[in-house]
Amino acid sequence: MARFLSVTLGGLSGGFVYAAVALSLVLIWRATRVLNFAQGAMAMFTAYLAYRVIEHGASYWVALVVALVAGLVMGAVVERVLVRPVENGPPLNAVVVTLGVFIIVEGLAGMFFGGTPHRYPTHFSNVNYTFGDVSALAPFDIWVIVAVAVVAVLLGALFRYTDVGLRMRAAAFEGEVARMLGVRVGRMLTLGWALAAVIGALAAVLVSPNVPLSPTSMDAVFVFGFTGAVIGGLDSPVGALIGGVGIGLLLNYVAAYAGGDLQTLAALAVLVLVLMVKPNGLFSTTVSRRV
């Protein structure tokens, strides 16, 4: 029982990272009906930039800001330049374009940073607290959970209480009508992608102390985030958070009781199961859109 509790709590921090990735995918999906396969790769690249900044002597926080700003710029540029022309075409075209971005970014990372994995530094302790027999949740894990939770709350507040958030929702919900009412729809979509890439960058910085940084290190994290987003229905930010945390817990059980190498296949099994049984996800609000 103590082991089970430790494993459960141990899955939380990973789960919150996947929740962040899921949230970023949902943000993009809601805005543009595109699934951004480059999301993990772009995040990986920003984490690399931050890693370089730390190597040159900057603090963890400065590097974090560098990663977030790099994500903001990257997300905006990719949407405006590459994705905009295919946004209203057949869905497969947008998928292939984001795959192109994915492979380019991974190639660039390999060129500039090499293929050797780097452990991203952190100044939070990685030593678990112990409560009786249960040992889990190092200060670093708490930081991960708090960071993602704060971002989620900020994002929720942005959409609910601010003018920009309202415009973004309008642009995503009914672009043509929003445009007639004076919303700069294109700008809102770019902003959506940029915000999503910021969240992705945060996820990469948070996960890279545990998953050493390499050009392909975010591939599996992306798959887990995607699975979390699909569990939540791709349309629902709350669903994405719950789905992400859920998949994090599940994968930690798989790692503890079956083997860490099977995590991705377990995620695949969950993904296929959810899509077969409840194609709109467990938390989706729309019923008209079938998979």
Binding site: L35, V86, L92, V97, G100, I103, T264
Partner: protein
């Protein structure tokens, strides 16, 4: 479609005869080509052989049937490990049997993936197959005793047959193996494409509801397309194992899956001839990259990753330039680039011309 086919005269009017004639002609040309070039070129040609099989398989799935797969690198891995494990035994089976078993095992895995895939569309299918591609290499570390972990397995392939002469270059022998497999695959797929099954593939791709109304079992057709495509990937994987002499999880990365997709897109999806061009490009790119790196004294990191940049740029440019969609549009685009009037493609493609579909449906 049938009207145009009937206007042909003579023995070439029969599709099977025509495809076989092309294959024999190609075989003769390739026999002389492989006999004259250097060992390194033969090695490259051997690589082209298995890439043709893989790209052609994906072309059938995506181009003819409209399903996307990012998992073909992983399916190749299934074939490669099957071949490696079979060749590892003390009394290995003949190579042909080994390769056929690679095909069978991979087709079985493909049936599993395909059964799930038939219920998924567009981005969801891409995501699920990506998960498959990312996850499968993990099995090799989980069952490291069988699969050799990260280091993989060595593949023991015998020398060329003795009656070819003792100094017969092994590269040429490998080229013959993969080219034979490629020609057989192309003939089979070309026949398939112009058969009833191929037409049902296209019908499902273009409009699932209409296909269903015409009496085609949509899900069954999609699973069949996936099985055939997976079988090709398995053969390609088995050949990869034979040519490279070893299999390791690193060789079957997501990048491989995306490279194959790039090859299929480059060749113009739906065209088997295009698959050959795509495969040649996939083999030439790394060597172009390495000679460019030599000339400009770039690091090996740059050299290894340059092809990825080219593939990625290619995927993006083709999609931006062919807004009608993957199907047909890509093919027409490349037809124009090659200076051909679209008329030449009417015979196989009269259905494709009207294919602006909504895969999300």
């Amino acid at each position: 479609m049938s009207v145009l086919t009937l206007t042909r005269r003579g023995p070439l009017a029969n599709t099977l005869v025509r495809h076989l004639a092309f294959a024999v002609l190609g075989g003769v040309v390739l026999f002389f080509l492989t006999s004259t070039v250097s060992a390194y070129r033969d090695f490259q040609i051997a690589n082209v052989g298995y890439y043709v099989v893989a790209v052609a398989g994906l072309t059938v799935l995506t181009g003819l049937n409209g399903q996307i797969s990012l998992g073909h690198g992983a399916l190749m891995m299934v074939g490669a490990y099957t071949a490696a494990l079979l060749l590892e035994r003390d009394n290995p089976l003949p190579l042909v049997v080994v390769l056929l078993l690679s095909v069978a095992v991979t087709a079985a895995v493909g049936a599993l993936v395909g059964a799930a895939a038939a219920r998924l569309r567009g981005p969801y299918l891409a995501g699920a197959t990506l998960a498959f591609a990312v996850g499968l290499p993990g099995l090799t570390s989980h069952y490291a005793d069988t699969f050799g972990g990260d280091n993989g397995l060595n593949v023991l392939t015998g020398p060329p047959p003795e009656r070819l002469g003792l100094d017969f270059p092994p590269e040429r022998w490998q080229a013959w193996i993969t080219l034979t497999a490629a020609l057989i695959t192309l003939v089979l797929l070309a026949n398939l494409a112009s058969s009833r099954v191929g037409r049902s593939f296209r019908a499902v791709r273009d409009d699932e509801v209409s296909a269903e109304l015409a009496g085609i079992h949509v899900a069954r057709t999609q699973v069949l397309a996936f099985i055939i495509s997976a079988a090709c990937a398995g053969l390609a994987g088995g050949l990869t194992a034979v040519v490279s002499g070893q299999v390791s999880p690193g060789a079957f990365s997501v990048a491989l899956s995306l490279s194959i997709l790039a090859g299929a897109v480059l060749g113009g999806l739906g065209s088997l001839t295009g698959a050959v061009y795509g495969a040649i490009a996939l083999v030439l790119m790394p060597s172009i990259s390495s000679s460019a790196s030599d000339r400009f004294t770039l690091s090996t990191d740059v050299q290894h990753n340059l092809p990825l940049l080219v593939y990625g740029a290619l995927l993006i440019v083709v999609m931006l330039a062919a807004p009608q969609g993957l199907q047909g549009g890509v093919r027409r685009l490349f037809g124009l680039l090659r200076g051909r009037a679209p008329v030449t493609s009417v015979r196989n493609e009269s259905v494709t011309e009207v294919s602006v579909t909504d895969p999300e449906r």
